[in-house]
Protein backbone atom coordinates (compact mmCIF):
# COMPACT_ATOMS: atom_id res chain seq x y z
CA UNK A 1 0.00 0.00 0.00
CA UNK A 2 1.22 3.45 -0.70
CA UNK A 3 -0.33 6.75 0.06
CA UNK A 4 1.64 8.26 -2.81
CA UNK A 5 3.39 6.17 -5.42
CA UNK A 6 6.27 7.92 -7.17
CA UNK A 7 5.44 6.29 -10.50
CA UNK A 8 2.01 7.83 -10.62
CA UNK A 9 2.85 10.78 -8.49
CA UNK A 10 2.56 13.40 -11.21
CA UNK A 11 -0.64 11.91 -12.60
CA UNK A 12 -2.40 11.66 -9.27
CA UNK A 13 -1.29 15.00 -8.06
CA UNK A 14 -2.17 16.42 -11.41
CA UNK A 15 -5.80 15.87 -10.49
CA UNK A 16 -5.30 17.30 -7.09
CA UNK A 17 -3.45 20.28 -8.47
CA UNK A 18 -6.50 21.20 -10.50
CA UNK A 19 -8.33 21.65 -7.25
CA UNK A 20 -6.12 24.38 -5.90
CA UNK A 21 -2.98 26.27 -6.64
CA UNK A 22 -1.61 25.92 -3.13
CA UNK A 23 -1.83 22.15 -3.23
CA UNK A 24 -0.17 22.16 -6.61
CA UNK A 25 2.88 23.83 -5.09
CA UNK A 26 3.07 21.11 -2.44
CA UNK A 27 2.72 18.43 -5.10
CA UNK A 28 5.46 19.83 -7.23
CA UNK A 29 7.80 19.84 -4.27
CA UNK A 30 6.83 16.29 -3.34
CA UNK A 31 7.44 14.89 -6.80
CA UNK A 32 10.98 16.21 -6.85
CA UNK A 33 11.80 14.69 -3.49
CA UNK A 34 13.16 11.31 -2.43
CA UNK A 35 11.26 8.14 -1.78
CA UNK A 36 11.43 5.61 1.00
CA UNK A 37 10.17 2.03 0.83
CA UNK A 38 9.60 0.21 4.11
CA UNK A 39 9.19 -3.58 4.13
CA UNK A 40 8.04 -5.69 7.04
CA UNK A 41 9.08 -9.34 6.73
CA UNK A 42 8.02 -12.20 8.99
CA UNK A 43 10.44 -14.94 10.17
CA UNK A 44 9.41 -17.16 7.25
CA UNK A 45 10.37 -14.50 4.71
CA UNK A 46 6.89 -13.34 3.79
CA UNK A 47 5.76 -9.73 3.81
CA UNK A 48 3.32 -8.75 6.55
CA UNK A 49 0.26 -6.84 5.43
CA UNK A 50 -1.70 -4.21 7.30
CA UNK A 51 1.22 -3.05 9.47
CA UNK A 52 1.20 0.55 10.61
CA UNK A 53 4.34 2.41 9.50
CA UNK A 54 5.13 5.91 10.72
CA UNK A 55 8.04 7.96 9.41
CA UNK A 56 9.29 11.08 11.14
CA UNK A 57 12.34 13.20 10.36
CA UNK A 58 15.12 12.64 12.85
CA UNK A 59 15.88 16.37 12.69
CA UNK A 60 13.73 19.40 11.87
CA UNK A 61 10.96 18.65 9.40
CA UNK A 62 11.67 19.90 5.91
CA UNK A 63 9.27 17.84 3.80
CA UNK A 64 5.60 18.58 3.43
CA UNK A 65 3.58 16.01 5.38
CA UNK A 66 1.49 13.32 3.74
CA UNK A 67 -1.71 15.02 2.71
CA UNK A 68 -4.58 13.37 4.59
CA UNK A 69 -8.25 13.93 4.91
CA UNK A 70 -9.39 15.62 8.11
CA UNK A 71 -12.03 12.88 8.34
CA UNK A 72 -11.44 9.13 8.46
CA UNK A 73 -13.92 6.27 8.70
CA UNK A 74 -13.99 3.30 11.05
CA UNK A 75 -16.99 1.28 9.91
CA UNK A 76 -18.73 -1.74 11.47
CA UNK A 77 -19.71 -4.67 9.26
CA UNK A 78 -20.53 -8.28 10.05
CA UNK A 79 -19.90 -7.63 13.74
CA UNK A 80 -16.35 -6.48 13.09
CA UNK A 81 -14.53 -3.17 12.75
CA UNK A 82 -13.69 -2.25 9.18
CA UNK A 83 -10.84 -1.60 8.78
CA UNK A 84 -9.54 -3.52 11.75
CA UNK A 85 -6.60 -1.11 11.97
CA UNK A 86 -6.79 2.59 11.11
CA UNK A 87 -3.89 5.03 11.27
CA UNK A 88 -4.64 8.76 11.47
CA UNK A 89 -2.86 11.98 12.26
CA UNK A 90 -3.50 13.78 15.54
CA UNK A 91 -6.56 15.96 15.23
CA UNK A 92 -8.40 13.75 12.76
CA UNK A 93 -12.15 13.32 13.08
CA UNK A 94 -13.16 9.68 12.76
CA UNK A 95 -16.69 8.72 11.80
CA UNK A 96 -18.29 5.47 12.95
CA UNK A 97 -21.14 4.99 10.45
CA UNK A 98 -22.31 1.48 11.50
CA UNK A 99 -23.21 -0.26 8.24
CA UNK A 100 -23.94 -3.48 10.13
CA UNK A 101 -27.35 -5.08 10.53
CA UNK A 102 -27.27 -4.65 14.30
CA UNK A 103 -26.56 -1.92 16.80
CA UNK A 104 -23.16 -1.46 18.40
CA UNK A 105 -21.80 0.42 21.39
CA UNK A 106 -18.24 1.41 20.59
CA UNK A 107 -15.94 2.39 23.42
CA UNK A 108 -12.31 2.96 24.28
CA UNK A 109 -10.65 3.27 27.64
CA UNK A 110 -7.19 3.79 26.11
CA UNK A 111 -5.32 6.78 27.60
CA UNK A 112 -4.97 8.37 24.15
CA UNK A 113 -8.76 8.62 23.78
CA UNK A 114 -11.52 7.53 26.13
CA UNK A 115 -15.02 7.61 24.69
CA UNK A 116 -18.34 5.80 24.56
CA UNK A 117 -20.40 5.92 21.39
CA UNK A 118 -23.71 4.05 21.08
CA UNK A 119 -24.35 3.31 17.40
CA UNK A 120 -28.04 2.59 17.09
CA UNK A 121 -29.66 2.09 13.72
CA UNK A 122 -31.33 5.14 12.29
CA UNK A 123 -29.38 7.62 14.38
CA UNK A 124 -26.74 10.09 13.26
CA UNK A 125 -23.54 9.83 15.22
CA UNK A 126 -21.08 12.70 15.63
CA UNK A 127 -17.48 11.96 14.65
CA UNK A 128 -14.87 11.49 17.35
CA UNK A 129 -11.79 13.71 17.30
CA UNK A 130 -8.54 11.94 18.11
CA UNK A 131 -6.50 14.74 19.57
CA UNK A 132 -3.65 12.85 21.26
CA UNK A 133 -1.08 10.52 19.78
CA UNK A 134 -1.07 6.90 20.91
CA UNK A 135 -2.84 3.61 20.36
CA UNK A 136 -6.61 3.54 20.84
CA UNK A 137 -8.07 0.07 21.27
CA UNK A 138 -11.75 -0.09 20.31
CA UNK A 139 -14.30 -2.50 21.70
CA UNK A 140 -18.06 -3.02 21.47
CA UNK A 141 -20.05 -3.20 24.67
CA UNK A 142 -22.58 -5.53 23.02
CA UNK A 143 -20.17 -7.79 21.10
CA UNK A 144 -17.12 -8.57 23.22
CA UNK A 145 -15.32 -10.29 20.33
CA UNK A 146 -15.14 -7.04 18.32
CA UNK A 147 -11.73 -5.40 18.55
CA UNK A 148 -10.38 -2.53 16.44
CA UNK A 149 -7.37 -0.24 16.59
CA UNK A 150 -6.85 3.43 15.79
CA UNK A 151 -3.20 4.38 15.74
CA UNK A 152 -2.97 8.14 16.25
CA UNK A 153 0.34 9.65 15.27
CA UNK A 154 1.89 13.09 15.11
CA UNK A 155 4.45 11.91 12.54
CA UNK A 156 4.17 13.65 9.16
CA UNK A 157 4.26 10.42 7.13
CA UNK A 158 2.38 7.24 7.80
CA UNK A 159 0.39 4.43 6.23
CA UNK A 160 -0.11 0.66 6.28
CA UNK A 161 1.77 -2.02 4.41
CA UNK A 162 0.20 -3.59 1.34
CA UNK A 163 -0.39 -7.37 0.93
CA UNK A 164 3.30 -7.74 0.00
CA UNK A 165 4.29 -6.13 3.28
CA UNK A 166 5.60 -2.83 1.86
CA UNK A 167 4.75 0.85 2.13
CA UNK A 168 6.20 3.46 -0.20
CA UNK A 169 6.55 6.98 1.17
CA UNK A 170 7.38 9.50 -1.54
CA UNK A 171 7.92 13.20 -1.12
CA UNK A 172 10.70 13.06 1.43
CA UNK A 173 13.44 15.68 1.53
CA UNK A 174 16.97 14.46 1.96
CA UNK A 175 17.79 13.73 5.56
CA UNK A 176 17.55 11.17 8.31
CA UNK A 177 14.20 9.65 9.21
CA UNK A 178 13.07 7.51 12.12
CA UNK A 179 10.76 4.66 11.16
CA UNK A 180 8.61 2.62 13.51
CA UNK A 181 6.17 -0.15 12.71
CA UNK A 182 3.28 -1.58 14.72
CA UNK A 183 0.65 -4.27 14.43
CA UNK A 184 -1.33 -6.14 17.09
CA UNK A 185 -0.11 -9.34 15.41
CA UNK A 186 3.61 -8.56 15.72
CA UNK A 187 5.10 -10.22 18.78
CA UNK A 188 8.62 -8.71 18.57
CA UNK A 189 9.75 -6.26 21.23
CA UNK A 190 8.74 -2.68 20.36
CA UNK A 191 12.37 -1.57 20.75
CA UNK A 192 13.34 -3.77 17.79
CA UNK A 193 10.69 -2.24 15.56
CA UNK A 194 12.30 1.13 14.95
CA UNK A 195 14.91 2.08 12.37
CA UNK A 196 16.77 5.19 11.35
CA UNK A 197 17.36 5.60 7.63
CA UNK A 198 18.98 8.24 5.44
CA UNK A 199 16.97 9.39 2.45
CA UNK A 200 18.74 10.85 -0.53
CA UNK A 201 16.69 13.09 -2.80
CA UNK A 202 18.35 11.57 -5.87
CA UNK A 203 17.76 7.84 -5.24
CA UNK A 204 15.07 5.79 -3.53
CA UNK A 205 15.88 4.54 -0.05
CA UNK A 206 14.68 1.31 1.51
CA UNK A 207 14.34 0.00 5.00
CA UNK A 208 13.57 -3.58 5.93
CA UNK A 209 12.14 -4.62 9.25
CA UNK A 210 12.88 -8.31 9.70
CA UNK A 211 10.71 -9.84 12.43
CA UNK A 212 12.24 -12.49 14.68
CA UNK A 213 9.21 -13.79 16.52
CA UNK A 214 6.37 -15.62 14.78
CA UNK A 215 3.29 -13.51 14.16
CA UNK A 216 0.36 -13.88 16.52
CA UNK A 217 -2.61 -15.69 15.04
CA UNK A 218 -4.70 -13.31 13.01
CA UNK A 219 -8.44 -13.89 13.47
CA UNK A 220 -9.96 -14.96 10.20
CA UNK A 221 -12.93 -12.95 9.08
CA UNK A 222 -15.97 -15.10 9.66
CA UNK A 223 -19.24 -13.46 8.73
CA UNK A 224 -21.94 -14.36 11.22
CA UNK A 225 -24.37 -17.06 10.16
CA UNK A 226 -28.00 -16.12 9.82
CA UNK A 227 -28.92 -18.45 12.68
CA UNK A 228 -26.27 -17.24 15.11
CA UNK A 229 -26.59 -14.89 17.97
CA UNK A 230 -23.55 -13.41 19.62
Amino acid sequence: MSLLRSSDCERRFGGVAAVGFLIAIVVTAACRAGELTVSVIDPTGHGVADVVVVVAPAGPATSPATPTSPVAIMDQRDRAFSPRILVVRVGTNVEFPNNDTVSHQVYSFSPAKKFQLPLYKGQLHPPVTFDRSGLVVLGCNIHDQMVGYIYVTDAPFFGKTDPAGTLRVPGLSAGEYRISVWSPFIADQASSLTRTVRVDAQAPAASRVQLVDALRARPEPRPPRADWEY
Binding site: G122, A217, R225
Partner: protein
Protein backbone atom coordinates in the same frame (compact mmCIF):
# COMPACT_ATOMS: atom_id res chain seq x y z
CA UNK B 1 -44.49 -2.81 8.60
CA UNK B 2 -47.08 -5.48 9.25
CA UNK B 3 -44.34 -7.95 10.23
CA UNK B 4 -42.99 -5.39 12.64
CA UNK B 5 -46.38 -4.77 14.13
CA UNK B 6 -46.99 -8.47 14.52
CA UNK B 7 -43.61 -8.93 16.19
CA UNK B 8 -44.39 -6.10 18.51
CA UNK B 9 -47.77 -7.50 19.45
CA UNK B 10 -46.41 -11.01 20.01
CA UNK B 11 -43.64 -9.63 22.15
CA UNK B 12 -46.22 -7.80 24.23
CA UNK B 13 -43.97 -4.81 24.44
CA UNK B 14 -45.88 -2.28 22.37
CA UNK B 15 -47.20 -0.35 25.33
CA UNK B 16 -45.39 2.70 26.57
CA UNK B 17 -43.58 5.49 24.78
CA UNK B 18 -42.93 5.40 21.06
CA UNK B 19 -40.02 3.14 20.21
CA UNK B 20 -37.26 4.07 17.82
CA UNK B 21 -33.59 3.65 17.05
CA UNK B 22 -33.46 -0.12 17.25
CA UNK B 23 -34.77 0.03 20.79
CA UNK B 24 -36.77 -3.16 20.43
CA UNK B 25 -35.46 -6.09 18.41
CA UNK B 26 -37.52 -9.19 17.89
CA UNK B 27 -36.45 -12.49 16.40
CA UNK B 28 -39.18 -14.98 15.65
CA UNK B 29 -38.97 -18.43 14.11
CA UNK B 30 -41.20 -21.32 13.16
CA UNK B 31 -39.83 -24.83 12.63
CA UNK B 32 -42.11 -27.42 11.01
CA UNK B 33 -40.73 -30.87 10.35
CA UNK B 34 -41.39 -34.26 8.96
CA UNK B 35 -40.47 -36.92 11.48
CA UNK B 36 -39.84 -40.63 11.26
CA UNK B 37 -38.99 -42.45 14.49
CA UNK B 38 -38.45 -46.03 15.65
CA UNK B 39 -38.35 -44.94 19.27
CA UNK B 40 -40.49 -46.48 21.98
CA UNK B 41 -43.03 -44.30 23.72
CA UNK B 42 -41.23 -41.02 24.36
CA UNK B 43 -40.79 -39.94 27.95
CA UNK B 44 -42.65 -36.78 26.88
CA UNK B 45 -45.70 -39.05 26.48
CA UNK B 46 -45.10 -40.98 29.70
CA UNK B 47 -42.80 -43.68 28.30
CA UNK B 48 -39.09 -44.39 28.56
CA UNK B 49 -38.05 -43.54 24.99
CA UNK B 50 -34.99 -41.33 24.80
CA UNK B 51 -36.00 -39.26 21.81
CA UNK B 52 -38.50 -36.47 21.48
CA UNK B 53 -40.63 -38.25 18.91
CA UNK B 54 -41.69 -41.90 18.99
CA UNK B 55 -43.32 -44.24 16.48
CA UNK B 56 -46.72 -42.66 17.08
CA UNK B 57 -45.38 -39.25 16.11
CA UNK B 58 -44.24 -40.14 12.61
CA UNK B 59 -45.51 -37.49 10.21
CA UNK B 60 -45.64 -33.71 10.13
CA UNK B 61 -44.92 -32.03 13.49
CA UNK B 62 -44.28 -28.60 14.92
CA UNK B 63 -40.65 -28.45 15.97
CA UNK B 64 -40.74 -25.12 17.68
CA UNK B 65 -42.18 -21.65 17.32
CA UNK B 66 -40.54 -18.92 19.33
CA UNK B 67 -40.20 -15.20 19.75
CA UNK B 68 -37.12 -13.66 21.32
CA UNK B 69 -37.40 -9.99 22.20
CA UNK B 70 -34.83 -7.56 23.46
CA UNK B 71 -35.81 -4.13 24.69
CA UNK B 72 -33.18 -1.49 25.36
CA UNK B 73 -34.38 0.49 28.34
CA UNK B 74 -31.19 2.53 28.58
CA UNK B 75 -27.78 2.31 26.90
CA UNK B 76 -26.61 -0.23 29.44
CA UNK B 77 -29.91 -1.82 30.50
CA UNK B 78 -31.80 -4.36 28.38
CA UNK B 79 -34.81 -6.62 28.97
CA UNK B 80 -34.95 -10.03 27.29
CA UNK B 81 -37.83 -12.49 26.91
CA UNK B 82 -38.15 -15.85 25.15
CA UNK B 83 -41.65 -17.17 24.45
CA UNK B 84 -42.01 -20.74 23.16
CA UNK B 85 -44.55 -23.13 21.70
CA UNK B 86 -43.53 -26.75 21.02
CA UNK B 87 -46.76 -28.51 20.20
CA UNK B 88 -45.95 -31.46 22.48
CA UNK B 89 -49.38 -31.51 24.13
CA UNK B 90 -47.93 -29.23 26.79
CA UNK B 91 -49.97 -27.99 29.69
CA UNK B 92 -49.19 -24.45 28.55
CA UNK B 93 -49.22 -24.42 24.74
CA UNK B 94 -47.39 -21.08 24.82
CA UNK B 95 -45.05 -20.40 27.67
CA UNK B 96 -42.16 -18.26 28.83
CA UNK B 97 -38.76 -19.98 28.69
CA UNK B 98 -36.50 -17.15 29.75
CA UNK B 99 -36.93 -13.60 30.99
CA UNK B 100 -34.19 -11.42 32.32
CA UNK B 101 -32.85 -7.90 32.73
CA UNK B 102 -29.22 -7.20 31.98
CA UNK B 103 -27.04 -4.34 33.14
CA UNK B 104 -23.90 -4.01 31.05
CA UNK B 105 -21.91 -0.84 31.78
CA UNK B 106 -19.38 0.44 29.25
CA UNK B 107 -15.93 -0.78 30.31
CA UNK B 108 -13.69 1.91 31.76
CA UNK B 109 -10.77 -0.44 32.31
CA UNK B 110 -9.70 -3.88 31.14
CA UNK B 111 -11.99 -5.39 33.77
CA UNK B 112 -15.62 -5.17 32.70
CA UNK B 113 -18.66 -6.52 34.47
CA UNK B 114 -22.30 -7.28 33.81
CA UNK B 115 -25.25 -8.51 35.82
CA UNK B 116 -28.26 -10.55 34.78
CA UNK B 117 -31.37 -10.81 36.92
CA UNK B 118 -34.29 -13.03 36.01
CA UNK B 119 -34.66 -16.56 34.64
CA UNK B 120 -32.14 -17.77 32.07
CA UNK B 121 -29.89 -20.65 31.01
CA UNK B 122 -26.54 -20.90 32.72
CA UNK B 123 -23.48 -20.44 30.49
CA UNK B 124 -22.44 -24.04 29.83
CA UNK B 125 -23.64 -25.15 26.41
CA UNK B 126 -21.32 -24.49 23.50
CA UNK B 127 -23.91 -25.80 21.02
CA UNK B 128 -26.87 -23.57 21.93
CA UNK B 129 -25.59 -20.29 20.56
CA UNK B 130 -28.64 -19.33 18.51
CA UNK B 131 -31.49 -17.02 19.53
CA UNK B 132 -33.67 -18.48 22.25
CA UNK B 133 -30.92 -20.98 23.20
CA UNK B 134 -31.37 -22.83 19.92
CA UNK B 135 -28.77 -25.34 18.76
CA UNK B 136 -27.14 -24.11 15.55
CA UNK B 137 -25.14 -27.25 14.71
CA UNK B 138 -27.95 -29.82 14.66
CA UNK B 139 -31.65 -30.04 15.39
CA UNK B 140 -31.18 -32.01 18.61
CA UNK B 141 -28.52 -30.97 21.11
CA UNK B 142 -26.30 -33.47 22.89
CA UNK B 143 -27.55 -35.54 25.84
CA UNK B 144 -25.57 -33.27 28.13
CA UNK B 145 -27.10 -30.03 26.90
CA UNK B 146 -30.55 -31.61 26.52
CA UNK B 147 -30.51 -32.32 30.24
CA UNK B 148 -29.37 -28.79 31.13
CA UNK B 149 -32.27 -27.40 29.14
CA UNK B 150 -34.74 -29.74 30.76
CA UNK B 151 -34.04 -29.36 34.47
CA UNK B 152 -32.15 -26.11 34.94
CA UNK B 153 -32.86 -22.44 34.77
CA UNK B 154 -31.07 -19.79 36.79
CA UNK B 155 -33.85 -17.91 38.52
CA UNK B 156 -31.83 -15.33 40.35
CA UNK B 157 -28.79 -13.16 39.74
CA UNK B 158 -25.65 -13.82 37.76
CA UNK B 159 -22.57 -11.63 37.93
CA UNK B 160 -19.79 -11.72 35.35
CA UNK B 161 -16.37 -10.07 35.52
CA UNK B 162 -14.40 -10.24 32.28
CA UNK B 163 -10.80 -9.29 31.70
CA UNK B 164 -10.52 -7.81 28.21
CA UNK B 165 -7.14 -8.76 26.82
CA UNK B 166 -7.08 -6.52 23.73
CA UNK B 167 -5.98 -3.44 25.64
CA UNK B 168 -2.95 -5.38 26.87
CA UNK B 169 -2.09 -6.73 23.45
CA UNK B 170 -3.66 -10.14 24.06
CA UNK B 171 -6.29 -11.25 21.57
CA UNK B 172 -8.70 -12.92 23.94
CA UNK B 173 -10.30 -12.60 27.33
CA UNK B 174 -10.98 -14.42 30.57
CA UNK B 175 -14.24 -14.26 32.46
CA UNK B 176 -15.42 -15.31 35.87
CA UNK B 177 -19.11 -15.87 36.43
CA UNK B 178 -20.95 -16.44 39.69
CA UNK B 179 -24.66 -16.81 40.39
CA UNK B 180 -27.08 -17.20 43.25
CA UNK B 181 -30.55 -18.47 42.52
CA UNK B 182 -33.67 -20.07 43.96
CA UNK B 183 -36.65 -22.05 42.61
CA UNK B 184 -34.55 -24.90 41.23
CA UNK B 185 -34.79 -27.43 44.09
CA UNK B 186 -36.42 -30.24 42.07
CA UNK B 187 -33.48 -30.33 39.61
CA UNK B 188 -32.25 -33.93 39.57
CA UNK B 189 -35.61 -35.68 39.66
CA UNK B 190 -35.64 -36.33 35.92
CA UNK B 191 -32.08 -37.65 35.60
CA UNK B 192 -32.74 -40.02 38.54
CA UNK B 193 -35.97 -41.40 37.13
CA UNK B 194 -35.31 -41.44 33.41
CA UNK B 195 -31.60 -41.07 32.81
CA UNK B 196 -30.39 -39.05 29.86
CA UNK B 197 -32.26 -38.25 26.65
CA UNK B 198 -31.59 -36.42 23.39
CA UNK B 199 -34.28 -33.91 22.52
CA UNK B 200 -34.65 -30.31 21.47
CA UNK B 201 -37.26 -29.94 24.12
CA UNK B 202 -36.19 -27.73 27.03
CA UNK B 203 -38.69 -27.15 29.79
CA UNK B 204 -40.58 -23.91 29.97
CA UNK B 205 -40.87 -21.86 33.14
CA UNK B 206 -44.48 -22.60 34.04
CA UNK B 207 -45.72 -25.53 32.02
CA UNK B 208 -43.33 -28.28 33.03
CA UNK B 209 -42.19 -31.11 30.82
CA UNK B 210 -43.70 -34.43 29.78
CA UNK B 211 -46.97 -36.14 30.54
CA UNK B 212 -47.90 -35.88 33.36
CA UNK B 213 -45.79 -32.73 33.48
CA UNK B 214 -42.83 -32.53 35.82
CA UNK B 215 -42.22 -28.99 36.98
CA UNK B 216 -38.72 -27.99 38.00
CA UNK B 217 -38.96 -24.41 39.18
CA UNK B 218 -39.97 -24.51 42.83
CA UNK B 219 -38.36 -23.24 46.01
CA UNK B 220 -38.77 -25.90 48.69
CA UNK B 221 -36.09 -25.44 51.35
CA UNK B 222 -35.58 -21.66 51.21
CA UNK B 223 -31.86 -22.14 50.59
CA UNK B 224 -30.35 -20.46 47.53
CA UNK B 225 -28.22 -22.42 45.09
CA UNK B 226 -24.97 -21.23 43.57
CA UNK B 227 -22.68 -21.77 40.63
CA UNK B 228 -19.34 -20.37 39.59
CA UNK B 229 -17.59 -20.68 36.28
CA UNK B 230 -14.51 -19.66 34.39
CA UNK B 231 -14.17 -19.14 30.66
CA UNK B 232 -11.24 -18.32 28.42
CA UNK B 233 -11.37 -17.10 24.84
CA UNK B 234 -8.15 -17.21 22.89
CA UNK B 235 -7.63 -15.51 19.50
CA UNK B 236 -11.26 -16.06 18.47
CA UNK B 237 -10.27 -19.68 17.80
CA UNK B 238 -10.59 -21.38 21.15
CA UNK B 239 -13.15 -21.02 23.88
CA UNK B 240 -12.94 -23.07 27.07
CA UNK B 241 -15.47 -23.14 29.88
CA UNK B 242 -15.60 -24.74 33.31
CA UNK B 243 -18.45 -24.45 35.79
CA UNK B 244 -19.32 -25.90 39.20
CA UNK B 245 -23.01 -26.11 40.05
CA UNK B 246 -24.58 -26.82 43.45
CA UNK B 247 -28.25 -26.13 44.09
CA UNK B 248 -27.57 -26.61 47.86
CA UNK B 249 -31.00 -28.17 48.26
CA UNK B 250 -31.89 -29.83 51.54
CA UNK B 251 -32.51 -33.44 50.47
CA UNK B 252 -35.05 -34.06 53.23
CA UNK B 253 -37.13 -30.99 52.45
CA UNK B 254 -40.47 -31.46 50.78
CA UNK B 255 -43.76 -29.67 50.39
CA UNK B 256 -47.27 -30.70 51.33
CA UNK B 257 -48.07 -30.84 47.64
CA UNK B 258 -45.47 -33.57 47.19
CA UNK B 259 -42.58 -31.54 45.83
CA UNK B 260 -39.18 -32.81 46.92
CA UNK B 261 -35.84 -31.07 47.01
CA UNK B 262 -32.99 -32.86 45.23
CA UNK B 263 -29.44 -31.93 46.17
CA UNK B 264 -27.76 -31.73 42.79
CA UNK B 265 -24.11 -30.92 42.17
CA UNK B 266 -21.97 -31.23 39.09
CA UNK B 267 -18.86 -30.00 37.36
CA UNK B 268 -18.80 -29.25 33.67
CA UNK B 269 -16.02 -28.57 31.21
CA UNK B 270 -16.17 -27.62 27.55
CA UNK B 271 -14.04 -26.47 24.66
CA UNK B 272 -14.91 -25.11 21.24
CA UNK B 273 -12.11 -24.94 18.70
CA UNK B 274 -12.44 -23.04 15.43
CA UNK B 275 -9.11 -23.65 13.69
CA UNK B 276 -10.28 -22.29 10.34
CA UNK B 277 -13.23 -20.33 9.04
CA UNK B 278 -14.91 -23.62 8.05
CA UNK B 279 -14.32 -26.07 10.87
CA UNK B 280 -15.70 -26.13 14.39
CA UNK B 281 -14.97 -28.79 17.00
CA UNK B 282 -16.77 -28.95 20.32
CA UNK B 283 -16.30 -31.26 23.29
CA UNK B 284 -18.10 -31.07 26.63
CA UNK B 285 -18.02 -33.20 29.75
CA UNK B 286 -20.14 -33.14 32.87
CA UNK B 287 -20.32 -35.31 35.97
CA UNK B 288 -22.01 -35.03 39.32
CA UNK B 289 -24.58 -36.51 41.63
CA UNK B 290 -28.05 -35.94 43.02
CA UNK B 291 -29.26 -36.91 46.49
CA UNK B 292 -32.67 -37.17 48.06
CA UNK B 293 -33.95 -38.51 51.36
CA UNK B 294 -32.46 -38.86 54.81
CA UNK B 295 -28.97 -37.64 55.67
CA UNK B 296 -25.79 -39.41 54.71
CA UNK B 297 -25.62 -41.50 57.89
CA UNK B 298 -28.81 -43.21 56.79
CA UNK B 299 -28.35 -46.00 54.28
CA UNK B 300 -31.74 -45.22 52.81
CA UNK B 301 -30.52 -41.99 51.30
CA UNK B 302 -30.89 -42.15 47.54
CA UNK B 303 -27.82 -41.05 45.64
CA UNK B 304 -27.30 -41.21 41.92
CA UNK B 305 -24.14 -40.28 40.09
CA UNK B 306 -24.15 -39.34 36.43
CA UNK B 307 -21.84 -38.30 33.64
CA UNK B 308 -22.25 -37.20 30.03
CA UNK B 309 -19.84 -36.22 27.30
CA UNK B 310 -19.91 -35.54 23.60
CA UNK B 311 -17.61 -34.57 20.76
CA UNK B 312 -18.82 -32.73 17.69
CA UNK B 313 -17.27 -31.75 14.37
CA UNK B 314 -18.96 -29.26 12.07
CA UNK B 315 -17.99 -28.10 8.59
CA UNK B 316 -19.46 -24.96 7.03
CA UNK B 317 -19.17 -23.68 3.50
CA UNK B 318 -21.39 -21.31 1.61
CA UNK B 319 -24.94 -21.99 2.67
CA UNK B 320 -24.20 -25.47 4.01
CA UNK B 321 -23.30 -26.85 7.40
CA UNK B 322 -22.58 -30.51 8.09
CA UNK B 323 -22.28 -31.81 11.62
CA UNK B 324 -21.39 -35.18 13.16
CA UNK B 325 -21.55 -35.86 16.88
CA UNK B 326 -21.00 -38.77 19.23
CA UNK B 327 -22.51 -38.81 22.72
CA UNK B 328 -21.84 -41.00 25.75
CA UNK B 329 -23.81 -40.90 28.98
CA UNK B 330 -24.49 -42.90 32.11
CA UNK B 331 -26.10 -42.81 35.53
CA UNK B 332 -25.52 -45.07 38.53
CA UNK B 333 -27.52 -45.40 41.72
CA UNK B 334 -24.95 -45.79 44.50
CA UNK B 335 -27.21 -45.97 47.55
CA UNK B 336 -30.83 -46.02 48.67
CA UNK B 337 -33.81 -48.30 48.33
CA UNK B 338 -34.37 -50.15 45.11
CA UNK B 339 -38.05 -50.22 44.29
CA UNK B 340 -37.44 -52.24 41.17
CA UNK B 341 -34.51 -52.77 38.85
CA UNK B 342 -31.85 -50.14 39.42
CA UNK B 343 -32.48 -47.13 37.18
CA UNK B 344 -28.87 -47.12 35.98
CA UNK B 345 -28.73 -45.70 32.49
CA UNK B 346 -25.84 -46.14 30.07
CA UNK B 347 -25.61 -45.51 26.39
CA UNK B 348 -24.22 -43.69 23.44
CA UNK B 349 -25.63 -41.86 20.44
CA UNK B 350 -24.60 -40.90 16.92
CA UNK B 351 -25.98 -37.80 15.25
CA UNK B 352 -25.54 -36.52 11.70
CA UNK B 353 -27.06 -33.19 10.71
CA UNK B 354 -27.16 -30.91 7.70
CA UNK B 355 -28.48 -27.39 7.35
CA UNK B 356 -28.92 -25.42 4.15
CA UNK B 357 -29.74 -21.73 4.19
CA UNK B 358 -32.32 -20.83 1.60
CA UNK B 359 -31.67 -17.16 2.14
CA UNK B 360 -31.71 -14.91 5.15
CA UNK B 361 -35.10 -16.13 6.37
CA UNK B 362 -35.52 -19.74 5.32
CA UNK B 363 -33.48 -22.76 6.27
CA UNK B 364 -33.70 -26.48 5.58
CA UNK B 365 -32.42 -28.80 8.28
CA UNK B 366 -32.14 -32.57 8.32
CA UNK B 367 -30.94 -34.85 11.08
CA UNK B 368 -30.52 -38.54 11.74
CA UNK B 369 -29.92 -39.72 15.26
CA UNK B 370 -29.46 -43.18 16.74
CA UNK B 371 -29.33 -43.90 20.47
CA UNK B 372 -28.21 -47.22 21.94
CA UNK B 373 -28.91 -47.52 25.65
CA UNK B 374 -29.34 -50.00 28.47
CA UNK B 375 -31.97 -49.02 31.01
CA UNK B 376 -33.28 -51.86 33.26
CA UNK B 377 -36.61 -50.21 34.21
CA UNK B 378 -37.75 -50.89 30.63
CA UNK B 379 -38.47 -54.42 31.87
CA UNK B 380 -41.47 -53.13 33.79
CA UNK B 381 -42.89 -51.96 30.43
CA UNK B 382 -42.32 -55.37 28.93
CA UNK B 383 -39.34 -54.14 26.93
CA UNK B 384 -35.75 -55.34 26.80
CA UNK B 385 -33.29 -53.28 28.86
CA UNK B 386 -31.04 -52.78 25.83
CA UNK B 387 -32.68 -50.73 23.13
CA UNK B 388 -31.70 -48.99 19.92
CA UNK B 389 -33.83 -46.02 18.88
CA UNK B 390 -33.49 -43.85 15.82
CA UNK B 391 -35.17 -40.73 14.54
CA UNK B 392 -34.98 -38.87 11.24
CA UNK B 393 -36.21 -35.31 10.90
CA UNK B 394 -36.39 -32.91 7.97
CA UNK B 395 -37.32 -29.38 9.00
CA UNK B 396 -38.22 -26.24 7.15
CA UNK B 397 -37.57 -23.15 9.20
CA UNK B 398 -38.71 -19.58 8.73
CA UNK B 399 -37.17 -16.80 10.72
CA UNK B 400 -37.78 -13.07 10.82
CA UNK B 401 -36.08 -10.20 12.55
CA UNK B 402 -37.70 -6.87 13.24
CA UNK B 403 -36.35 -3.76 14.87
CA UNK B 404 -38.17 -0.70 16.05
Amino acid sequence: MSARLYACLVAGLCAGPALADDRLTVVGAVDVRWVHSTSDLSYLDGGLGKLRFDQDDTGLRLGRAFVVSRLRVADIVTLHAVVDAYGDHDRNPVDLSEFWAEVRPFPTSALRWRVRVGAFHMPISLENRGPGWSDVYSITPSALNTWLGEEFRTIGTEFEARWLGASSGYLGDVSLVAAAYAWNDPAGVLIAARGFALTDRPSTLFGGLGRPPITFYHEIDRKPGVYAGLSWRHHDRLEMRALRYDNRADPVASTVAGGTAWRTRFSSFGARLTPTANWTFIAQYLDGDTIVGADEADEDQFRMTYHAAFALASLEWGRERLTARVDRFGTHQSSGFYYGPAADDSGHAWTAAWTHDLGAQWQLAAEWIRVTSRFPPRASYGELPLNVESQTQVAIRYRFTAAL
